[in-house]
C-alpha cells in the first residue's frame, strides 16, 4: 500500500507537496482537511492520517521522495 499524503490548498505549498508526487505515494490535494486551526498557524500535511508540521515537514517530504527515487533526484 502506498503512503497517503494529504494536504489542502491552504496548508502547504503545492510545490512542496509535489516533491512526493511519485508512484509510491498517493498524493491528495484537498480544498480543506478540517484542520483549520492548525492550518491557520503553520504548514502541515497528513501522512497516512498522521500530522506532520515544520520543522519536520520539509525533511519528511524530502525523505519520502528520496525513498521513492532511491535518492537520485
Amino acid at each position: 500500500m502506498p503512503l497517503t499524503v494529504e494536504y489542502c490548498l491552504s496548508s502547504c505549498e503545492t510545490d512542496l507537496a509535489s516533491t512526493v508526487d511519485t508512484d509510491g505515494v498517493a498524493l491528495r490535494e484537498r480544498r480543506c482537511l478540517e484542520q483549520c486551526g492548525i492550518c491557520r498557524n503553520r504548514a502541515f500535511v497528513l501522512v497516512d492520517g498522521r500530522l506532520v508540521v515544520e520543522p519536520e515537514l520539509t525533511s519528511t517530504l524530502e525523505s519520502l521522495a528520496d525513498v521513492e527515487t532511491g535518492g537520485d533526484r
Binding site: 494529504e6 498517493a26 491528495r28 480544498r31 480543506c32 483549520c36 492550518c39 497516512d48 500530522l51
Partner: protein, 513 residues
Amino acid sequence: MNVLFVSIDSLRRDFLGAYSDRPTVVDYDVETDNLDRFAQRATVFDSHYAGSLPCMPARREWLTGVKEFPWRPWGPVEPFDEPVAELARDDGILTQLVTDHFHYFQHGSHGYYEDFNGFEFVRGNEYDAWQTSPKHPPEAFCDQLLDRETDPTTSMQYLNRNAYARNANGFDEESDYFAPKVFSRTAEWLSENRDWEQWFCYVDSFDVHEPFDVPESYASMYTDEDPTDPDLPVWPYYGSVDEGQSELTDRQLAFVQSQFAGSVTMVDRWFGRVLETLDEDGLWDETMVIVTSDHGFALGDNGWVGKNDFTVYDVIAHTPLMIWHPEQAAGGRVSALTTAVDLYATMLDAMAVERPADTHSRSLLPLVRGTRADHRDAVLFGYWGSSVNVTDGTYTYHRPPESDSETLCHSTTMQNPHSWFTPPTARTDPDAGAYLPYTDASVWRYPADSWFQHRDERLYDTANDPEQTTNVATDAPETVERMRTLLERGLDDLDAPESQWPRLGLYTGGRKQ
C-alpha cells in the same frame, strides 16, 4: 398565511420512508414515522436538487434568493441581499429563528440571524465556542470524537473538536441533546405566539449533521456494538473510506452508519412534537410547512464519507423537499425539477410579501397548487471554485475546472475562499467594482485556486443508475454534448462571470467549444 420552514441538516432522502423503503447503504429499515406522516399530508417533491453547497451557501439561496456558487464561496449575507426575514418583518410579519446551527455565529457567515424579531440559539453543537470546562473531557468520549494529535485538549486553536466534548459533557437525558431542544422549543414557540396575526418561523436543526452523538435508545437502535466503544467514531473525517485521515474499517463505517440512522430517528421523533402542536393548536389551515435539507451525507457511498471532497453525487445533491400548503392541489408527488433557491420566492409568495425583482428564485406554489406541472429544464449545482454540475432530472453531468485554473471570488467582505471558519484575511490584491449582474453595488473581486472534486468529465444516467456507479461520459458523447449545452445555458441564464467559461474549459481560443 404563516410559514414554518424546517431544515434538517445533512438529511439523506433515502433515509426517509417517503422516498425509499430502505436506505442504500444499510440492510435495515430506519424509523421516520413522523416525517412519513408529514409526507402523507404534504406535497412531496421527487426531483428537488441543491444549488450552492454546502451549508451556508444553501442558506443564502433559501433566505435571499441568490444562487451564489458561480460568484462566491461560503460567506455572509451581503448588504444588497434582501432576506426573507427582513422583507417579512418590514411587511408586519413576526419572524423567528430556532436553531442549534453554530455556523451562523462563526467567522465568515454573519447576517443570517440578525433580521429575525426573535432568535433562539441552542448552544453546544459541533464546534460551538461555548463550554471551556472540563479542561480534560472524558477520554473515551474524546476517542470517539477526535484525533488527539490534531485536536490536543489544551490547544486554543480554532475548530478544536474538544469543544464538542466539553459542550456535551454531562448530557444525561435525551432532552439534553440538540434536536430534542430545537424541536421542543419550536413546538413551545408555536403555542406561545398564537396571538400574532402572521408569522414566519425558521427552524434550522443542525442534526443530523455530524457529530453523530446520540443518546440511548437511538445509539443502540441500529447496531449491536457498544456505542461507547472508544474504537468506534461518531465524528468521521471527510474523505475516502479507504485511505488517509478519513479511513474507516468496515466495522467503523457500519457503526457510523448506525449512528447517523439513530440521529435520523431521534430528529424524527422530536419533529413529531411540532406536528402534534400543529394538530392541537389547529394551525394547519393557516400555515405552510416546508421540510427540506441543505444536502446529504455520504456514508460509504462510492467509497466516500462526508461531502465536499468528491463528485457531487445525488447522495449529496438530490435532497428531500415536502411542502404542506392549505391550498395545495391534493398532496401527492411532484416530479418537476426544482432547486433550493426556489424556496425563497415560495415563502414570500405564501406570505403575500412582494418579491424583489431579478432574483434567481422561482416560486413553487404553482406546482403545489397544481396549476403548473413543469418548472425547470435543468438545475445547476456545486461548490464555488470546483466542478459545475447540471441535472435534467435524468442525467447528471459534472464538469471539473481546468488544471491550474483560478476562480474569482466576489463579495463585499474579504473571505477566506478555502478556509471558511477562520478570521478573514486582509487582502491587498482585489479589484473593486459593480461586477455582479443582479446588483449595482460594488464588491471586491479576487482570484483563488480552483480545486478538484474529480479530474475527469463525468456523466451519470441517474434514471437507470441511481447510485451513480458508472461514468458513461465516454460511451454517450451526444448526451454529454446535450448536458454541456444545458450547463452553458444555465451559466448564460445566470449571467455568470465570463471567467467561468475558460475556467471550465468551455472556451477554446475565445470561442465556445
